[in-house]
Every structure is written in C-alpha cells, then in structure tokens.
Amino acid sequence: MSIELRQVSKRFGSVSAVEDVSLTVADGELVALLGPSGGGKTTVLRMIAGLEVPTSGDLLVRGERVNDVPVQKRNIGFVFQSYALFKTMSVFDNVAFGLKIRNTPQAEIEARVDELLKLFGLDGLGRRLPHQLSGGQRQRVAIARALAPRPSVLLLDEPFGAVDAKIRQELREWLVRLQRELHVTTIFVTHDQEEAMEVSNRIVIFSRGRLEQIGSPREVYEEPKNEFVARFIGVLNVLELTVQNGAARLNELSFPTHGVPEGQTLRIGFRPYAVQISRNLQEYPHSAVIRHVYFLGVQLRLELETPSGLILRTRIVKDDFLRQGLEQGSSVSFQIREYRVLSTGANSLSPEVATVHSAANFAEGI
C-alpha cells in the first residue's frame, strides 16, 4: 500500500479538526476525500503533504512513518485550490521550479517541462505569465508543476472549485484520463458528491472531522453506512415514523417492523428511483399529486404530495413521463419499492448500520 493513516487526529488549539482517522490508499488509486466544508478533509490532505503535523497517530508512506519528515522531503505533488502559481515566473519556470530546486541538469529540465506542457496541451504557452492564462490553463500548469519532479503521490485540494461549470466537466474527464495514463496515486478533496462519484475509484466521506465511510462510488451510494452518508450521496427521502400495532406508521404510509417495540420512533430512507408511480390510480397502493417537475435532461425529478401533505421525491425517464401523459398537477398512484431503516430512536445521525429490507418483504407490509 502506498499511503496509510493510523488513528490520525489533528487539533488546532481546542478545536478538533480531524479525529481518529484511519485509512489506506493503494498505489495507483484515485481517491476522493468528500464531505461538507469544515469536515476535515483538507486538513487530512495537508497532513499527508506535510503542511500540517498530526497531533496524534501515525502517517505511513510505503510502510515508513513520515510524521516527522519535512514537507520538502516527502516527494508529494500538491495542487492548491487557488493554484498558487508563482506569478512572477513564466509557465515554463513554474513547471521547472521543482526540478531546478533539485539541481536537475538544464537539458533534463527542458525535456521534462516540454514533455509535460505537451501532455497538458500547454505547448507554446511556456513563456506566458500566469495572469495571461485562462482558469483551466492555470490549473493545468499547477498540476504540471506538481508532477514535474515525479512525485509518488498527487494531492489536489478542491481541484475544480475555481473554474466554471462547463470547463469543470472537461477537467474531470481529463483528470481521469491523465491519472490512468500516468498511473500516479492521486487523492483529491471535494465537497461535490457528483464530482467524487464520477472521478474516483474510492470515496472517503468525512463529516465533522470523522471518517464516515470508505467505499467505491457504488458502495457508498447503494450501501451507505449511516444516514449522513445516505443523505450526502445523492438524493434521499427520509421519513420519521412511529411503531404502532406492529408497523411503523406515518400518516397513510406504513412499513413492516421486526421486533421494534411499540411507540418507538424509526427513521427510514429511500432513493427517488425506489418510488414508482403510475397514471393508473389502481396500480399502486398509495395516491399522490405531482406538485413540481424538475427537468434534468433525460430524466425528470418529480415532487409528489400525498393527501396528508407528505412530500416525496422521485425520478422518471422523460419518455415514460410523456407516454403516460403526465404533467404537473396529475394524480398518480405510487409504491415504495425498497427502503432502508436509517435509525431507531430519536438519534438522527446514529452511525449504526442500517438494515436492508427486501422489496418482497416490503410488499406484504403495504
């Protein structure tokens, strides 16, 4: 394994930024550190780089403890959110900086920088100053500069935060391709779950300095370990129900329970795609009215309102929506195909692993 954190914590004065985080990143992986701002993900990245020193715990690179190795000796490439280009130096000198510092022979520097500029689509721009570049170009210079001394790891802090939406999409795809070509272990920080899902092999989810879950994009989406993860990754409908007469109930909805005591509160969650709707009011057991239609492209997101006023979100393919002759205000019947229990009791963000109920099990309950 390439990088390992063992029970790493970081405190700034009395504020705890990172608490007891353990994780490993294998060689060649592309890992996203995901979480809301202030979640501690950037601090983790900066500790790996050596820009912050852990308060406790061990940081290992290729099995060797590097807690006390200064930033200069760690051989990591770090790309700052602001890019932090050297504004008085040309693009060439920016990219060459790490090599010059290492006293690399001039011919070698030129070859390496030219190679990178070409690879990054920056050839011909070597003599420009950073302020003469577009946002996307600046970012590529920042990445090229970080990669020039052939670091063992590439760390990127919110790499797509400062560019506009259209370029962002291109940059994402470009980064994935680049990483595959260069095969350099890459860790990047983002607060955008879509970005993390799309770009990375594995996602590490943080909140309030704690590690909530590590997994592939599919794992964290389909099997979130807790409500925080479930809500943070994708859209989630959450209902708080009370157990009465052997089933968890909220207004007209009820879900079967297994051994949960009467009167207990229960939170369940389900993805929009789990809510199936039909124009045929007899097809599914519940009824609702389409309150809002959000156009997302091929798919539409619908907001349903049940007679008792519960709001549920669902997704439907546009063709299907049109074929059924649905529109805003239409009455529909619906069912919830699958769901998971997020927590029992009033504790809303309990990290306890949720139980999955199968669709079959669920059907008899309705």
Binding site: L51, A84, L129
Partner: protein
C-alpha cells in the same frame, strides 16, 4: 487618480464653472505653495551663475555635509530594509499575540514629532542621560557625534519599508510559499525565489521613501547632532546654518541637491506606483476571492 476622474465626469456631472473653480484652486495652490518655492530654490542657487553654484558646493563643510548625509542613509536604508522585511514577514505569515500592537508600534515614529524622537536619544545616551556616564567611562560618544545621527535617522525612517510590505504580503497570503515548500524548496529558497520577487516593487517603493526621508530628516538629527561644522552636520543642518549666515547662494545650492533628491524620488515613486498597480491588478485576477486593492 486618472481613472477616478474619468468616472466622476460621466456619473455625477458638476456644472462647468464649479469644475473650473475647483481645478483652478487646486492648480493655483500647488503652483504657489509647491512649484514656486521649488523653482525659487534653483533660481536662488543659480543667482550668481554656474561657477558660484559649483564653488559653493565645493566648500569643505558643505562637501563633508553631503558625505555625512550619504553615509547616514547608506547605513540606515539597508538596516531598515532588513528590519522591514522581517517585520512584514512576521506580521503577514504568523499569528501571534500582540500582533496589532506591533503594527501600531511600527507606526510610532510617524506620529511622534521628530524633535521628540531626537530628545529620546539625548535622554538615553546624552551626558546627563541614563546611559551617559557608562558610555563616558568607555569613551564612547553617541550624542553630538555620528552614531547619534545614525540612531535618530534610523528611528525616524523605521516604518517606511515595513508599512509598504505588510499590506502587500498579507494580501498575497502564503499559498505560493507553501507550494514552493511542497516542491522541495528550503525556507531560504522560498523567500528568495518566491516571496521577494512578488513584493519587489513594493519593497523598492519603501526603500526610496525611506532614503528620501533619511537624507532630508532635520528635526531629530538637529537635536542630537550638536551642529559641528565638518563633523556632525548633515545636508539639511548645513543648509540651515548657511542660511542663518546669510550665505544665500551656498544655502540654496545645497538645498537644490535635496530638491533634486526629492524630484528623483517623486519620479521613481510615480513609476513604481504604476508597476505596483499593474501587479496588484494581476494578483486580483489570480485569486478571485481577494478583494484587496
């Protein structure tokens, strides 16, 4: 200033006569109180021709005053340059208790009357001062000697470089320095290759102002100097003495040298302000979140 003028013309248009009156007052004031005296300095200096001008500058006491002034600024400017960079670095890059107090104290020489600054050194190092007897026993003379003049000038010109650099370095943050560290640079390499180039215009600006003040300082130096012709007289003190002795050409010839320093300083200052403005506009485009000007 030019940009502001253009803007106000479009937005809130004043009646033409008000505009003319205001511009007339401003230009008239500058003309009467600034340009006329300046022109007069040169007119008086050359009143008896080139030969008299050069001759009066070659008086031994005037020459030694010029040399002393050059010596004092040659000592004070580098020292305050080093101090200014260190202070700006400390304030801009570190968080510590008493930082606001330090910034205020750096400004102190600006708010204290130069005469008081001079008196401080007399009280400290003079014959009746705190350290006077001890210095006397070691046969070290500070007051009424060159060391006193250097100290007083150092004190008065203390804030120029630091004040110029602190806001500049604070606005730039430390991302670029951190980037240099991750690329393997040592602290010194980072300072030399990254920090210094990014503040060089501001630094030069501070140095030029510092130099102008070091050469022109009168009050503080006057108190500690003792006015010994040929020994402890700087150029401003020499001018005063010549003037009191009714040596009009001599006084104004010497004054023309200081006026020349002022004009050169002004020219360099204007040029540097433009460079700096260009650089800061770029700094802004580099980090969209920064709203510093």
């Amino acid at each position: 200033m030019a940009a502001a003028n253009g803007k106000s013309r479009r937005g809130i248009e004043e009646p033409a006569f008000i505009r003319r009156i205001l511009i007339g007052i401003a230009v008239g004031f500058v003309g009467v109180f600034l340009l006329l005296p300046l022109a007069n300095v040169f007119a008086q200096a050359f009143a008896k021709g080139w030969a008299a001008y050069l001759q009066s500058l070659q008086q031994p006491d005037t020459r030694s005053a010029v040399l002393l002034t050059l010596l004092v600024s040659a000592i004070c400017v580098p020292l305050n340059l080093v101090f200014g960079v260190i202070a700006a670095w400390a304030v801009a890059k570190f968080q510590f208790r008493g930082k606001a107090l330090l910034i205020t104290l750096i400004d102190l020489p600006f708010s204290v009357s130069p005469v008081v600054s001079g008196l401080i050194f007399v009280v400290m190092f003079g014959a009746q001062g705190y350290l006077g007897p001890w210095l006397d026993s070691k046969d070290i003379q500070i007051i009424f000697a060159v060391p006193g003049i250097v100290l007083a000038t150092l004190f008065v010109t203390f804030p120029f470089v630091a004040r110029e650099l602190i806001p500049l370095m604070e606005a730039q943050g430390s991302d670029a320095e951190q980037a240099a560290l991750t690329l393997g640079a040592t602290g010194w390499q980072t300072f030399w290759h990254v920090t210094l180039p990014s503040v060089k215009w501001g630094l030069l600006y501070g140095v030029i102002l510092c130099n102008a003040r070091a050469m022109g300082e009168f009050g503080a130096v006057s108190v500690v100097s003792g006015h010994i012709s040929g020994l402890t007289e700087t150029l401003p003190l020499r001018i005063e003495k010549l003037h009191q002795e009714y040596q009009s050409v001599g006084a104004f010839s010497a004054a023309s040298l200081l006026a020349l320093v002022a004009l050169i300083t002004l020219g360099l200052k204007t040029w540097l302000e433009r460079r700096q403005a260009a650089e800061q506009a770029f700094g802004q485009s580099d980090s969209p979140s920064s709203h510093e000007h």
